[in-house]
Subunit: 220 residues, 2 copies
DNA sequence: TAGCGGCTCATTGTATACAATAAAAAAACC
DNA sequence: GGTTTTTTTATTGTATACAATGAGCCGCTA
């Protein structure tokens, strides 16, 4: 690669370095949906041979970030309205499960983390730093998912969210009142704090759906 | 590979042939959990070079059938009780969602397919052919999932089921009364036919849970 | 004999060369 | 001039050679 993002990467297999790099570029829009990923061009740009590039691309496919056609190479995954709906529906299903489980397992410290996470999200919203907003929002949701304690569900949700991250990112750019998200988070926190799992589930559902509708509008 | 399962495979990239072959061997127990997958040995056995073997193994990793450790190669995924619980919980969450959606979208022809599928499953149970039982059971559930019409959920469920297929297979071997499964299927069909989605969801949940408990017992 | 250190070997990681193929361009034909 | 066929070229698929590394072995030392 010629350079390394940080020292950790120096010990990672090159395929993972390639994976991380390309993932970053896809998620934050440098590589756009539908764009071809050509092995030779990438290996030259990244300064490695084709082998780790191929393997890195396979990892991206695993995360649903690229699609491969035999003998035709890989493209950054683009998404149809139907696929977006499907992903969001799957996400909603799993994340409402997580919210429910979270209510049963929440601890005092976890609850405080949740509040702290939303505070950070609120700051990010105030700062209008898009990247920061996206990251802190993810962190907030991840606390709920972590508390639910189901590793497989977590893994699936990470993958599902990555698949629509790019669109969410674009959508946040044009959102008129992002402070609404902060208030929605607060309501979720409140429901969890009161151990009202039905309400928490409903809040999460609404929270995801409202974003879903906005993203959906943008896609079309 | 030297030979081909069928003509279709002759046109597939070798990585896919390798993937299919190894997947078969893992699912039906020829390759056992924890067993190492060594690239050179496999490439010799399958008559291809290491490259497609490596890529085939990556595909297996994507399906959760093998786990890879950097510089230590790949092993057939074995599962802890906790992981099994997590997978089953995720499956239950998504499949109850599918059952619910199925009730809303079921058509007359699909309903007939469902009944036919359970008839075939019943025959398989009578014949005591384990492989047949597993396949027809999967086919039955797949009709419900297909009818739900969410491709992403389907994809996730396929992967989740594969991860526990081997254990289910082992468990079926020692099941005392497999006809119970046929009756459970019948109840699910009935609930769907009556458009009682609450009941269908509950039936699916029970159906999965009863298997879950049995598999769980076996693992421990 | 227990523990340390370096050696060997098996195995994965990476690079590269060659083969196969699909898309694009050029040529031949009507 | 347009259409089909051939040729070229770009790109992926596959094989293989070499490098790097981790695991186990063996002898050394105390």
């Amino acid at each position: 690669m010629g350079f390394y993002e940080n020292d950790e990467d120096a010990f990672l297999p090159l395929r993972d370095v390639v994976f991380k790099q390309l993932r970053e570029e896809i998620l934050y829009g440098k590589l756009k949906p539908g764009e071809r990923l050509m092995e030779i061009a990438l290996s030259e740009r990244l300064g490695v041979s084709r082998t780790p590039v191929r393997e890195g691309i396979r990892l991206l496919e695993k995360e649903g970030l690229v699609v491969m056609l035999p003998r035709r190479g890989a493209r950054v995954a683009s998404i149809t309205a139907k696929q977006l709906e499907d992903v969001l529906e799957a996400r909603r299903t799993l994340e409402t499960f997580a919210a429910n489980a979270c209510c049963a397992k929440i601890t005092k410290t976890r609850f405080e983390e949740l509040k702290e996470a939303n505070r950070k999200f609120s700051e990010a919203v105030d700062s209008r730093d898009l990247r920061q907003m996206a990251d802190t929002d993810t962190a907030f949701h991840n606390i709920i998912i972590d508390t639910a304690g189901n590793e497989k569900v977590k893994e699936l949700l990470v993958s599902l969210k990555e698949q629509i991250f790019r669109y969410k990112y674009e959508f946040m750019k044009e959102m008129d009142d992002p402070t609404r998200l902060v208030r929605e988070h607060d309501q979720i926190i409140k429901a969890i704090g009161e151990c009202r799992s039905d309400r928490a589930v409903e809040m999460i559902r609404m929270h995801i759906d409202s974003q879903a509708i906005a993203i959906y509008r943008k896609i079309k």
